[in-house]
Every structure is written in structure tokens, then in C-alpha cells.
């Protein structure tokens, strides 16, 4: 071997074995030149490992998310510092008030700061925990997507500062040019608003205030002034009246404080605990809700009201001459000329009985007349009450405060002239809608449009904002401070429940801003409210506590009672009777204009919930119509949906016909508040506007005689939630009575035979053992004597249970979603039918026929007797609805959240109206009344937390809570102390369709009419 052997034992290659010097060198320099020198990041590929992984992860995440339908549901932010008194999941309640018409107090339920339900304030002395449908549903207005959100000048958004500055400029300009400023509004009952207007008047002496109401009650106030000079119109203690005679006064639905009236009226329809009933006589032209509840109803044309009153006086005086002792001679001879024979269509026997009843119940009866009747009629009604000593039933301490009398027609016409002549250069519309309402004042819209500066305050777009150059969006009542002084002894307070959802201010802030000539904030109104409160309540009451204390308590309560001394009533002024003229009847056709039930003077028109509650009598939803009697319809060959043209002088309107049994012949009855041209999405193409037919000059502005009617040949589809059956179809006549759905009798019959309701019952037995309910068993009872059919419960149920609005087209095909409906049945003759109403909800049958047919067990029975729906399990076979004898199940034929009016419900704000306790149902799912299970569960968890049983009458369902008549009772029928048990075991209690042995759990108390004869 030429090369020396390696000493080492291990070798890696031959070079090493032979000790090649290269290997040696390599071994010394472990890192060769260039291996380390080159290591510079800049020389490396720009994609580093980290960057590569980052990109990989990002693209994986990106592709993963891009393939899902993940939707950003917005940020969910937990409370880092929990607001005081707010526990997530627990509702808070605040007392406030929503309107200046009734001054009723409300209690607003909020969840996590969000108002979700409005109920009556139980402590409020006037409405006592109840409010009407419009106020309950008005929670939707707060979240309405159509609300105006920014101030506008000539339809362009401007800033608040600019708006206030330029409007202040307009006012100053008007003052400089010696022009007048008109401020137009509805009746103002807020002392704070009033004081601000007064202050503004001081600043700008050229301001003139005009106020109007669509339904003007000036004649009523004037008449009272003439009869009993000076004093305020008292309220009536209906609950103390044995006999109530209403002549065209729809006090149970439209006139006066309806909630208060219903509560008082129904408190005297008591048959369960004792027999205590008033008797209601109604004389009316249209079939109203009040007329539906009458014990005796006389159909009488509106134009004959005076004749009827004079005949009644004649009847009274001829029976008891002493009554007429103070009548002026001329009046005595006048009434003597009115004999009964002149009243057609009125049953002599019943009329005589009315006279006797009034005479026998002097001091305990009351006559109420049409709120909008002429002064003469009002005065005559005062006279009847006066001679019968019925004034004992008038309540002066709760009299209606008249803060600002309304402008009369001359003043309003003058306004038009002044606008036309340019004397008025600025018109401020303070949250009213004169262009729509005052269309009966000739040329109002044109005159309004001519004015240089038109400023409109409104929550929504309307006919007036459309013509205005400045539109000022204002707060919802739930976002505002305020006060209402409507009744003499009650001062109602309003507090904001939520901060304004949009960029709005309250209308008082606007007035204050004009006063300060710079933008003020809503919080500046609070001191003003307090100031007025101090002056009008605190100081008057002479309270001994500190003002702050008193204020805080009153704000908490939502109202304060003002101490007043009972004011002695003035004497009746018999001299006014001398001017009363003979009661003539007007021939020909009459157009009778009436308020509607739910949407007010159209201010609630954009509220789908309210539009969809069917008319309590006709059951038509989403429209108004001209109601005519079957005879008149025959005479003019009209059928439902025919469009007629009604002409009065130069004015003409078109409206569809509805044949309404009970209407007097030759009368066309139309409810106002419909036919809006500029408003939100909901109210587009809803109904017909007949405001221009009002004739404020005449004696009877809302009852227009001498109209002519012609058939146009067009038709317009009216939709109703009940099929219109001909009342005289022999197959269908009185079917509700023959089937025992409605069981009725008279008090006489009941006294004679207390079991008459159950006379035709058959013994019912089951071939299987009945299921036992050991613990609680929930049940409901509805007293049909108290229920007047007002439908406020429907509104309450809608809000509580997230009932969707489905729209007119879907109501038309019978797909309304109401869990609660008020069934209305006619019996008797179509000229003057008997009306029976019956609230119908899921009966939670023990042997529920819906349960056994569901193939997937989606509807089943709870151990406490509830018929339950598991929405998630429901596949929507609709078999349960088919097999429900009461047809109370409602199917989601569409996703009604996006089906109605371009996904009205799916915008961000409307979704907030939902009650978080109740599932929002999806398409293809069946639903129905749950007996407000969320409230049962709430009471249960409270009881568990407090370590006790749920009390017998602790739970109130939404319908029960809102029922102004207290007709609904709910409770545990296994608990002997519960009120519902008294009803279930009462002799008047019956179940609808009990013969099919489904064992329903809603007991109805049979209606007893207070008539003399036994037959209804």
C-alpha cells in the first residue's frame, strides 16, 4: 500500500480511509466558506415559512367562509358595567302615557332597555290597567321602518342646526314683513306644549293657533255650555246606571273614553257571582258595537234623532205631567205634536217599555246621545237627564278638561283665505295632517301649498309633509317627555322609555328651539314638565312632601291625582228650549260618517297590526266601505264589493259597498281615516277617503242628507275574516244557536230555569280512561255577558305572541294569523239582527283531536293540561288544523316575515318589536294560542325561586290582561281557590261543541239579555 493506513477505526469513505488532505481540511472547517456568508433573509424567497402558513390559513379560512351562508348578525356586546336595575332576561316596567286624547296611563314592558309591550297602567284612575287596541299596537309604530329619521328641506336631508336656523329665519322674516304665522295642530291637552306655544306667541305676536279634530265635538261642548252655562262636560258613571239609553252614541267602541266606558258598562253585566245587570237601549242608524250589545235596539235614521227625543219627551211627560212643569209653553206644545205614530220601524211595546223603564229608574238611568249630533239634540238629551234626575250619575270631578277649544269652520275657512291672500306666510303643522283631514274645507291643500314656508312635524310621511318645505321628524311618544291634562282630577305624565331610535326631537323641543333660536335637546323639556307639574299639581294639592319626592313618586306612578272639591252643578237653563224646532225627518239618502275602530284619525294607519284586526261588527279588514241595509242594497241592485259613486253637491267619491244587516234603510255608513295617498308602505291602497264629504257648516256635519248614489259598474274586493252568509238563507240561519255554539237566554228565563243552558246536553262518556291531571291544570273562562267584542284582546295577543301581519291579499284567501279571533253571529231579522260575539282561541282540549293525528308528535299535551306545539318538530301536514273543530290553528303558508310588504319585518328596526320570550315561527309551521305559556313559565320560575306553589289567580294571559270588560278569567282549575273554577262550575258555563267529547278547557258563560220577554 502506497498510502499510510488510517489510524482511526471508523471511516466514512475511501478518501478518509486513505487520509486524503482534503478530508482533513474539511474536518477542520466544519462550515465551509460561503455556507454561512450567504445567509441573508433578503436573498431568500420572499415567501417565508410563517408567511406561507399565514397565507395558507387565510385562504383556507377564506374559502371555508365563502362557501357558507354565514351572515354577520352584528356585534353582541355584553354589559361591562350593568345598568342599575337591569337584569338581562328580566323585564322592567315603566309608567307613561301615549296620547293626549284620552290621557290614559300605560305601563311599558321593556327587556334590556327595549320596549316590547304596552299595557294599561293598573293604578291609573281613569283607564285602570286597560288600553285600547291602537295604543297596544302602537309599539309597532316605534319600530316602524317608515318613520322619518332626518329633518328635510325641500325633500333634501339637512342638519338639525340648519333646520332650526332656517325655520327661525322664516319666522323672523314673517314678523318683519308683518305677515302672520299659523300654527295648526290637533287638540292640545299637554300643559307643557301649551305653555311653550304661549311663550312662542309672546315672542312672535303674529302667531295664530288653529286646532281641529277630524271628528269635531264643538257642538257637544257648546250645547253643554248652553244647557248648564260654563261648566266642563262631566263624565258619566255608567256603572251606576240601571238603564242606559244611547241615541247614536257608540260609547263602547268609538265615543268618549272607550276603555273607561267598557269597564264601567261591563261591570254591570255580572251573572256569575250575583245577578246584577243594567239594561241597554240603543237607537242608531248603523249597526255599531254598542248596538250589538243592546238589550233593545231600535234602528233609526240619524236624521230622526231629534224626532225620537221629542217623542220620548212626549211619552215621558204624558205619563208623568210633573216632569214637564218647568218647560216653556212653546216647548210643551212642540213636544205634544210628536206622537209615536210618526216614528216608523219602532216597536210600540218596546218604546213604551223604554218610557216606563226611564220613569221607574229616575236618578239611576242615563241618556247619552251622538257626540256629533246637533246642539239641539244635545240640549234635549240634557233635558231628559235633567227631568229624570239622572244628573246624579254625572261625575264632575272627572270632567273633561277643555284646554283649547277647536277652531270652528269660519276660522278654518278664514285660514284658507289668509293663506290664499298671502297674509299668512308661515304655517307650522304641529304633528297633525290638515291636508288630509281638512279636505272638506274648500281649497285647503292648494292654499297650504301656496304658502311661502310650510313646516310639518310628523313621525311619518303624510299628505301634509308631502307639500311642506320643511319636514321635522319627531319622537314617538315612547321617546318623549310630556304631560296630559285631560280629566279634571288626573294629571298624567309621560316619560321616555327609550332614547330616540332615529335622529328626531320631540315636538316640544322644536317649539323650544324656535324660542331659543337654536337647537335645544329633549332633556330641556323635563324642567318645563316639572315646572308645569309644580304649578298645576304640587302646589294645588298642597302636598307636604318635598317637590322632588312628590315628582319622583308621580313619575313612577305615571300620573298624579289632583284634589278637587266637588263642584256643584249649575241649573238647567230652560230658556234654551224655546229655540228648539220641530223634529222633521229628512227624506232621501243619507251618508253617515263615523270614526273607525282602530286607526284613529288615520294616525295609526301605517300600523299593519291594526289594519289587520277585523272590524268588530262586519269583520272586514284592511279597508273601509259603505255599509248599507239589505233592503237598500236590493233597491239599488247592489251586492258586496260593488263600487258606488256618492255625490253630495259638487263633491263626489267612490267607495265599495258592504251589505250590513241592521243598518237603517237609505243610509250609507262610512268610517273615516282611510284612503291615504302619502304614507308608509303598509297603508298603500288601503280604503277610501271621504273626509271631503264632511259639512262642518251644517247642523249635522257627519250625517249628510240629500246625497245621490249611483252604481259605477266597477268592483273592489273587500276582505273579511268571516264568510258573509246571507242572514236569511234558511240553511244557514241561526246555525250557531242550533249547534249550541252560542247559548243565550234572558234573565227572566234564567231565573225561572237556571239550568236552561244545559237543557239539551247529552250524557257524554268515553270508552277509555280519562287522563288524570294531578298538579296544575290550566283553564280559561270567558264571560260572554261582559265581552262586548271590542277586539282589544286580539291586539294584545298580536303584540305578546309576535303574530305576523299577513296583508290584505292573504286575509282575502283566509290566511290571517291571529291566534285569537272574535266570532260574530247574527240571528233574527236582517233589518235588526241580534248580534252575538264569541272570542275564540285554542280550547286546549283534554282529548285534543289535533294531537292524535299529527304524524310527528309535533303537537302534544303537557302534564298541566296545555295543548303544546313543538315548532321545530312540525313538518306542516296541516292535519291538526283540519281536525280542529274550532279551526283555531294557524298555518304559516309563507314566511310571513318576508312575505308582507317587501319584507317589512326583516328590516333592522321592526325585528326589535318581537317579544323575546316567544319564538318567531318560520314558514311551513303550524301555530296557535299557547295560553301565554311564557307567562305561565315566568310565574312558575318566580314561584320556584320563592319556594311556593303558583297561586290560583296569579297568571294573567295577554288577552285577559288587556280585556277592558274583565271578561276573561284564567287560572288553575285543579286549585279550588281559583276564580276560573267558579266559572267552570257555574250553571251558565258551557263548552262550545262539548258533544264531540274533545273536552275543551275554555268555559263560556252564556249571555243573558236583560229583556222583559223570555225570548231573545
Amino acid at each position: 500500500m502506497s498510502k499510510s493506513r488510517n489510524e482511526t477505526k471508523y471511516w466514512k469513505n475511501l478518501k478518509e480511509y486513505y487520509n486524503d488532505p482534503d478530508v482533513f481540511e474539511e474536518k477542520i472547517n466544519e462550515f465551509k466558506d460561503g455556507v454561512t456568508d450567504d445567509f441573508e433573509t433578503s436573498h431568500l424567497s420572499s415567501i417565508s415559512r410563517r408567511k406561507f402558513l399565514t397565507l395558507m390559513a387565510a385562504s383556507a379560512a377564506f374559502s371555508a367562509t365563502a362557501c357558507t351562508d354565514y351572515r354577520d348578525k352584528g356585534e353582541i356586546v355584553p354589559y361591562t358595567r350593568r345598568p342599575e336595575d337591569l337584569v338581562p332576561g328580566i323585564a322592567n316596567y315603566y309608567a307613561t302615557s301615549l296620547d293626549g286624547y284620552t290621557g290614559n296611563g300605560v305601563l311599558v314592558k321593556t327587556r334590556e332597555g327595549r320596549p316590547i309591550k304596552i299595557d294599561g297602567n293598573p293604578e291609573h284612575p281613569i283607564n285602570k290597567g286597560k288600553i285600547d287596541a291602537a295604543q297596544q299596537a302602537s309599539i309597532l309604530n316605534l319600530y316602524d321602518p317608515d318613520r322619518l329619521g332626518e329633518p328635510q328641506q325641500n325633500k333634501k336631508q339637512i342638519s338639525w342646526n340648519k333646520a332650526i336656523n332656517s325655520i327661525s329665519g322664516e319666522l323672523k322674516k314673517a314678523a318683519e314683513q308683518n305677515k302672520k304665522i299659523a300654527l295648526i295642530s290637533n287638540r292640545i291637552t299637554s300643559p307643557t306644549t301649551n305653555s311653550l306655544i304661549e311663550k312662542l306667541k309672546e315672542k312672535y305676536s303674529n302667531i295664530e293657533v288653529y286646532s281641529y279634530e277630524l271628528f269635531d265635538d264643538t257642538s257637544k261642548r257648546n250645547a253643554w255650555n248652553k244647557s248648564y252655562s260654563g261648566s266642563l262636560i262631566p263624565s258619566v258613571k255608567l256603572n251606576e246606571a240601571e238603564i242606559i239609553l244611547s241615541i247614536g252614541n257608540d260609547f263602547l267602541a268609538k265615543d268618549g273614553n272607550v276603555v273607561e266606558n267598557i269597564k264601567q258598562f261591563s261591570s254591570r253585566k255580572e251573572f256569575v257571582k250575583e245577578v246584577n245587570s243594567n239594561r241597554l237601549y240603543v237607537v242608531e242608524s248603523e249597526l255599531s258595537l254598542t248596538g250589538s250589545n243592546a238589550d233593545y235596539r231600535f234602528p233609526l235614521k240619524n236624521s230622526d234623532q231629534k224626532k225620537f227625543l221629542l217623542t220620548l219627551l212626549n211619552g215621558l211627560v204624558s205619563k208623568d205631567a210633573g216632569l214637564g212643569s218647568q218647560f216653556p209653553i212653546g216647548f210643551k206644545t212642540l213636544i205634544a205634536k210628536h206622537d209615536f205614530a210618526a216614528l216608523s220601524n219602532i216597536d210600540k211595546k218596546n218604546f213604551d217599555q223604554l218610557v216606563n223603564d226611564l220613569l221607574e229608574n229616575t236618578g239611576k238611568s242615563i241618556l247619552v246621545v251622538d257626540e256629533r249630533a246637533s246642539e239641539e239634540i244635545q240640549i234635549l238629551s240634557h233635558l231628559v237627564n235633567e227631568i229624570l234626575n239622572n244628573n246624579d250619575l254625572l261625575c264632575f270631578s272627572k270632567a273633561f278638561v277643555d284646554y283649547n277649544s277647536l277652531s270652528n269652520s269660519d276660522e278654518l275657512k278664514n285660514l284658507v283665505n289668509e293663506l290664499n291672500s298671502g297674509n299668512i306666510s308661515v304655517i307650522i303643522n304641529l304633528d297633525s295632517n290638515p291636508v288630509y283631514h281638512l279636505s272638506y274645507i274648500d281649497g285647503f291643500a292648494e292654499a297650504f301649498n301656496k304658502t311661502a314656508a310650510k313646516i310639518s312635524l310628523s313621525q311619518f310621511e303624510n299628505e301634509t309633509t308631502a307639500l311642506s318645505n320643511y319636514v321635522i321628524p319627531i319622537n314617538n311618544p315612547l321617546e318623549s317627555w310630556g304631560d296630559f291634562y285631560v280629566r279634571k282630577n288626573v294629571y298624567t305624565l309621560q316619560q321616555p322609555i327609550i332614547a330616540p331610535l332615529r335622529s328626531t326631537i320631540q315636538k316640544e323641543t322644536f317649539l323650544l328651539s324656535l324660542l331659543n333660536e337654536k337647537l335645544s335637546s329633549d332633556s330641556e323639556i323635563l324642567p318645563l314638565v316639572k315646572e308645569n307639574f309644580k304649578k298645576l299639581v304640587y302646589e294645588k294639592n298642597g302636598a307636604i312632601v318635598s317637590f322632588d319626592n312628590y315628582w319622583n313618586n308621580s313619575l313612577h306612578d305615571g300620573f298624579a291625582v289632583i284634589k278637587i272639591e266637588e263642584e256643584a252643578k249649575a241649573d238647567f237653563n230652560y230658556a234654551v228650549l224655546e229655540n228648539i224646532s220641530f223634529g222633521k225627518s229628512a227624506g232621501g239618502l243619507t251618508l253617515l260618517l263615523k270614526p273607525n275602530h282602530f286607526i284613529g284619525d288615520s294616525r295609526f294607519a301605517n300600523n299593519g297590526w291594526l289594519q289587520e284586526i277585523p272590524h268588530p261588527v262586519s269583520k272586514v279588514a284592511w279597508d273601509n266601505y259603505a255599509a248599507v241595509s239589505p233592503n237598500t242594497a236590493d233597491k239599488y241592485q247592489l251586492v258586496n264589493n260593488d263600487v258606488v259613486e256618492i255625490k253630495s253637491g259638487a263633491k263626489a267619491v267612490k267607495i265599495p259597498i258592504l251589505v250590513q244587516p241592521g243598518t237603517t234603510d237609505d243610509t250609507f255608513v262610512v268610517e273615516l281615516g282611510y284612503g291615504r295617498t302619502n304614507s308608509g308602505d303598509v297603508v298603500k291602497d288601503v280604503g277610501f277617503n271621504l273626509n271631503n264629504m264632511i259639512s262642518l257648516d251644517s247642523d249635522s256635519p257627519y250625517s249628510i242628507s240629500g246625497i245621490s248614489v249611483s252604481k259605477t259598474g266597477e268592483t273592489y274586493e273587500l276582505v273579511s275574516t268571516q264568510e258573509h252568509h246571507a242572514v236569511d238563507d234558511s240553511k244557514l240561519k241561526d246555525i250557531h244557536l242550533s249547534r249550541g255554539i252560542i247559548r243565550e237566554g234572558t234573565i227572566t228565563e234564567y231565573k225561572k230555569n237556571p239550568d236552561f243552558v244545559h237543557e239539551h246536553d247529552h250524557p257524554i262518556f268515553s270508552i277509555t280512561d280519562e287522563h288524570e291531571y294531578k298538579d296544575h291544570k290550566w283553564a280559561m273562562a270567558i264571560d260572554l255577558n261582559k265581552c262586548i267584542g271590542c277586539s282589544y284582546c286580539v291586539a294584545s295577543c298580536n303584540v305578546e305572541n309576535n303574530i305576523p301581519v299577513v296583508g290584505k291579499d292573504q286575509v282575502g284567501v283566509g290566511r290571517e294569523m291571529h291566534w285569537m279571533r272574535i266570532d260574530r253571529y247574527y240571528s233574527g231579522s236582517p233589518d235588526n239582527p241580534e248580534v252575538s260575539t264569541q272570542p275564540m282561541i285554542c280550547q286546549h282540549c283534554d282529548n285534543a283531536p289535533c294531537e292524535n293525528v299529527c304524524p310527528v308528535n309535533a303537537t302534544n299535551h303537557s302534564p298541566d293540561g296545555l295543548n303544546q306545539m313543538a315548532y321545530n318538530r312540525c313538518v306542516g301536514t296541516r292535519y291538526c288544523a283540519n281536525n280542529c273543530p274550532y279551526k283555531v290553528r294557524r298555518f304559516n303558508f309563507f314566511d310571513f316575515r318576508d312575505n308582507f310588504a317587501d319584507a317589512f319585518y326583516e328590516n333592522d328596526s321592526t325585528a326589535l318589536v318581537h317579544n323575546p320570550e316567544v319564538t318567531v315561527r318560520s314558514r311551513g309551521v303550524m301555530e296557535k294560542c299557547t295560553f301565554c305559556i311564557q307567562r305561565i313559565m315566568d310565574a312558575r320560575s318566580k314561584a320556584i325561586a320563592e319556594g311556593r306553589e303558583v297561586a290560583a289567580n296569579e297568571i294573567k294571559t295577554a288577552c285577559q290582561q288587556s280585556c277592558p270588560a274583565d271578561a276573561i278569567v284564567f287560572g288553575d282549575s285543579n286549585n279550588k281557590e281559583s276564580e276560573v273554577n267558579v266559572f267552570r262550575e257555574h250553571k251558565l258555563g258551557y263548552h262550545v261543541l262539548e258533544e264531540i267529547n274533545v273536552k275543551p278547557n275554555v268555559t263560556y258563560i252564556a249571555k243573558l239579555r236583560n229583556t222583559e220577554s223570555e225570548d231573545v
Binding site: 268571516q722 264568510e723 252568509h725 240553511k731 244557514l732 246555525i735 250557531h736 242550533s738 249547534r739 255554539i741 292573504q810 284567501v813 283566509g814 290566511r815 290571517e816 279571533r821 266570532d823 260574530r824 253571529y825 264569541q838 275564540m840 283531536p849 292524535n852 293525528v853 299529527c854 304524524p855 310527528v856 308528535n857 318538530r873 312540525c874 313538518v875 306542516g876 301536514t877 296541516r878 292535519y879 288544523a881 283540519n882 281536525n883 273543530p885 274550532y886 279551526k887 294557524r890 298555518f891 304559516n892 303558508f893 309563507f894 314566511d895 312575505n899 318560520s922 314558514r923 311551513g924 309551521v925 303550524m926 262550545v992 261543541l993 264531540i996 274533545v998
Partner: protein, 455 residues
């Protein structure tokens, strides 16, 4: 007047064809290319099917609200169509199983086709319970399957019984049909020259070699399946009728429904089979296999079942009156004189009056007349289901919740689609499988059976 001697048994196949002739006639449609007429026919049925598919798509996208269904009337066209098609599906199994057990030889010429119609009709019907639900994507809930919620279906619901009854009926009918096809597959396998067809027929003929042993086993299986299918013929429509009879609704809650529904189903099934066969025998030159005598016999069955149905109509009225339940009485008076009186009288005139013409022999044996009457019967039977479903629902117990049901275009689209599906399947059937059973017809031609001759 032609005289038929009813004391003598005539051959059910006319003209004493040779066995190979029978094979040729029956197999020929499978070997020739479809002609123009076929393409025209299938384009019509496919268009109808497409209309149905579009209507269904619209319904799935927007919801059941696209139909006329409303609050009192929860069930409309889809359920009417379901009952109608299940009814159509009744004739096939009745002809192939029940008439087989009764040794009615004349059924051999029509059994295969009638059975095919049964399968297609049940397939068509089976779609409706699934699509008529509000959330069709959850229709799987209707089947009992183990799940982590231990959530079970409701065994007391007639709708669930329907699921079982219809799926059982379909399965058994299908197996029965297939078993009957095995010898024919073998025959076709033996005759075909096409390599691909040979493979397919070989697979489906399950190695059939026409051996004596095969025949023996075959006859036994066929007999057992016939026995098994027979009660199903009666049970399916009985259970479908339970959908109505088990409810509390006046007009639905009647004990006569099971036999009445079965009679109605046989009635409409025969009418549909007769209608289609009239075309088949003409187009495929099978007039001597599906003879006028066979058609006459079918007409007689229609007349019988028509009268059964008429009796049921009358009995419903009688019991409503006799039972004295006011709501029930009203339901029937309302059917005849209420807002749906037009539908009721269409039903009565089509179902009760028109089959009475079959009393005349001339009518029974005249093709256009019997065809027209059978069409009327099918219209009438569709209306019968409409009357039962819709009128009862539209006016039930509480007059306040009554409502009128009017179908929408989508409803009609789905109805048209169901006919499209049925006839498309039928047309494809005529080009893929022997429409008449080769083996069974061979068994009934003259001389096929051992006789005593003149001895």
C-alpha cells in the same frame, strides 16, 4: 244481435295464434326504434311533467302559500291528487292478484300492463304526501328512524299509517311485478341478438331456464305473492280512507269510508286501465290478445263498482239523516246544495249516472263509448276526492271559520305534472318491457292447456 253463448268458455285469446307469433308481437315494440308518434306522445307528457316540476319548484321556493289552501281548508289539490292516484293504483294489483286467485284467465292479457300502471300510479301518488307538507325538507320526520332525541313518530296518526300502507303496497306490488317478469326476461334474453340487451336480460332473468323445476317454484311464489298482495289491495285504500274517517270532521267522520274508498279505487283504477289499454291494443296490434271480451268484462266491473259507490253516496246521506247529528246533516246538505254543489253534481253524474250506460251491451262493446264513459269515471272520481276533502273542510262546526277554497294555477300545474309523470313512465314502459306477459298469454291460448278434447 250477436249472440254469445255464456254456457261455453271461449278462449281469451282470439285467432289461436302460434306461440312464436305471440312472442313476436309482444317483443316487437322493444326491438323497433321509436316512431314519430312515440316522440310526439312523450314530448307532450314530458312537457306536462316539466309544468309540474316548475310548479313544484315555485312551491318549494315560496311556500305552500302558492296553493289555494287556506285556514279552514288545510288540504286541497295535493291530497285530492294523492287519493286519486292511489286509487288509480288499485286496478293493477286487483287484476293481477285477486283475479289470479279467482282463476280469471282473461286477466292474463292485461295483468302486466295494469300492474305497471299500479306501480307508476303509486309512485305518482307517493310524491304528494311528501310535497304537500309545509316544510318538505323535513319530510323525513314522517319515517320512524332511531335518533339521538329518542323522538318517535306518532303511531296514532292515520297519516303515519298511510306512509306504511303505501310503501308496503308499493314494495309488494313491485316484487310481484318483477317476479312475473322473470320468465319473460328469459324469453327476451333467448331471442335478442343485441349483446348489451342480452347482458341486461340475463341479469334480470336470474338464470331462468324454463325448466320444469323453475316453473314449479315460480308458480308457487307467484301464488304466495298473489295471496299476499290481495289483502293489501283492500288495506291501502282502507287506510287512506282512515285519513278522513278517523277525524272528527263532519263529512269525514263516517264508518262507511273504508269499503266505499276501496270500491271507488277499483272503479277509477279499472277506468284508467281500460282507457290506456284501448290505445295499447290498437297501437301494438294486440287486439286479439287484449280482446273486446276482456274490455267488456272490465266494463262490467266498472258498472258494479260504480253502483257500489253510488250506494255509498246514498248511504252517507241516509246515515247523516238517521244519525241525527246536526253538523253531519248540514255537511251533506251543504255538499249537494252549498257553494260546492257544482263539484258534487259533476261527481254524481260522472260516477253514478254515466256507468249505467254499461247496462247496454252495445255500449259495453263499443270502443269510443266505453272510452268516453271511463274518462267520465276518472273525472268523477277525482271530483269525489275533491268533494270529500274540500267541502267538508270549508264548512265545518263553527260557521265563523268557514271559508271558500279556490285552487291556484300552481295547483293545476302540479296536477298536470302528476299526469305528465304517470304517462311518461307508462310510455317508457312500453318501449322497455313487454307490456303483456308472454308466458301468461301463452298459457291461455287454445291448445296450451291439456284438455279432454271431445272425449
Amino acid at each position: 244481435m250477436s249472440s254469445v253463448d255464456y254456457t261455453k268458455e271461449y278462449s281469451v285469446v282470439e285467432g289461436s295464434p302460434r306461440l312464436s307469433e305471440i312472442e313476436d308481437i309482444i317483443i316487437r315494440p322493444l326491438n323497433v326504434k321509436p316512431d314519430k308518434k312515440f316522440y310526439m306522445a312523450i314530448s307532450v307528457t314530458l312537457t306536462m311533467l316539466l309544468i309540474g316540476v316548475i310548479s313544484l319548484g315555485v312551491s318549494f321556493y315560496y311556500g305552500t302559500g302558492m296553493w289555494g289552501n287556506n285556514n279552514p281548508v288545510g288540504w286541497g289539490f295535493p291530497i285530492v291528487n294523492f287519493v286519486f292516484w292511489v286509487g288509480i293504483g288499485h286496478a293493477g294489483t286487483l287484476i293481477s292478484a285477486i283475479l289470479f286467485l279467482f282463476r280469471q284467465k282473461w286477466r292474463n292479457g292485461i295483468a302486466r300492463f295494469a300492474e305497471g300502471m299500479t306501480i307508476f300510479a303509486v309512485m305518482t301518488a307517493g310524491i304528494f304526501p311528501l310535497i304537500h307538507v309545509g316544510r318538505p325538507w323535513l319530510a323525513g320526520y314522517l319515517f320512524p328512524y332511531p335518533n339521538q332525541h329518542s323522538l318517535w313518530v306518532n303511531f296514532t296518526s292515520p297519516l303515519l299509517w298511510d306512509v306504511f300502507a303505501v310503501s308496503t303496497y308499493f314494495t309488494v306490488s313491485f316484487i310481484f311485478w318483477y317476479v312475473g317478469l322473470i320468465p319473460d326476461f328469459a324469453t327476451m334474453r333467448d331471442k335478442t341478438t343485441n349483446a348489451l340487451k342480452k347482458v341486461i336480460y340475463s341479469v334480470f332473468s336470474l338464470g331462468w331456464r324454463h325448466s320444469n323445476r323453475h316453473w314449479q317454484n315460480y308458480e308457487m311464489v307467484y301464488l304466495i305473492l298473489a295471496g299476499f298482495a290481495t289483502p293489501l289491495v283492500l288495506s291501502v285504500h282502507t287506510i287512506v280512507s282512515f285519513d278522513f274517517a278517523v277525524s272528527v270532521l263532519p263529512g269525514w267522520h263516517t264508518t262507511i269510508f273504508p269499503p266505499y274508498f276501496v270500491a271507488g279505487a277499483v272503479f277509477s283504477g279499472f277506468a284508467m286501465v281500460q282507457n290506456v289499454l284501448i290505445f295499447i291494443r290498437k297501437i301494438f296490434d294486440m287486439e286479439h290478445i287484449i280482446t273486446l271480451d276482456t274490455l267488456e268484462k272490465m266494463n262490467k266491473i266498472m258498472m258494479l263498482t260504480g253502483m257500489l259507490v253510488g250506494y255509498a253516496y246514498a248511504m252517507e246521506f241516509f246515515i247523516a239523516w238517521y244519525g241525527g247529528v246536526e253538523a253531519e246533516q248540514f255537511a251533506f246538505v251543504n255538499r249537494a246544495f252549498g257553494p260546492y254543489a257544482w263539484a258534487y253534481w259533476i261527481m254524481v253524474s260522472c260516477n253514478v249516472l254515466s256507468p249505467q250506460l254499461f247496462w247496454f251491451k252495445k255500449v259495453r262493446r263499443t270502443i269510443p263509448a266505453m272510452f268516453a264513459i271511463a274518462v267520465f269515471i276518472n273525472v268523477g272520481m277525482w271530483f269525489e276526492r275533491f268533494v270529500i276533502t274540500v267541502t267538508s273542510l270549508s264548512r265545518d262546526f263553527l260557521p265563523s271559520s268557514w271559508g271558500y277554497y279556490s285552487p291556484t294555477l300552481v295547483d293545476f300545474g302540479i296536477l298536470i305534472g302528476s299526469f305528465g309523470m304517470f304517462f311518461t313512465l307508462l310510455l317508457l314502459f312500453t318501449k322497455t318491457l313487454p307490456v303483456v306477459s308472454i308466458a301468461e298469454v301463452k298459457a291461455v291460448v287454445d291448445g296450451a292447456q291439456p284438455t279432454h278434447g271431445d272425449h
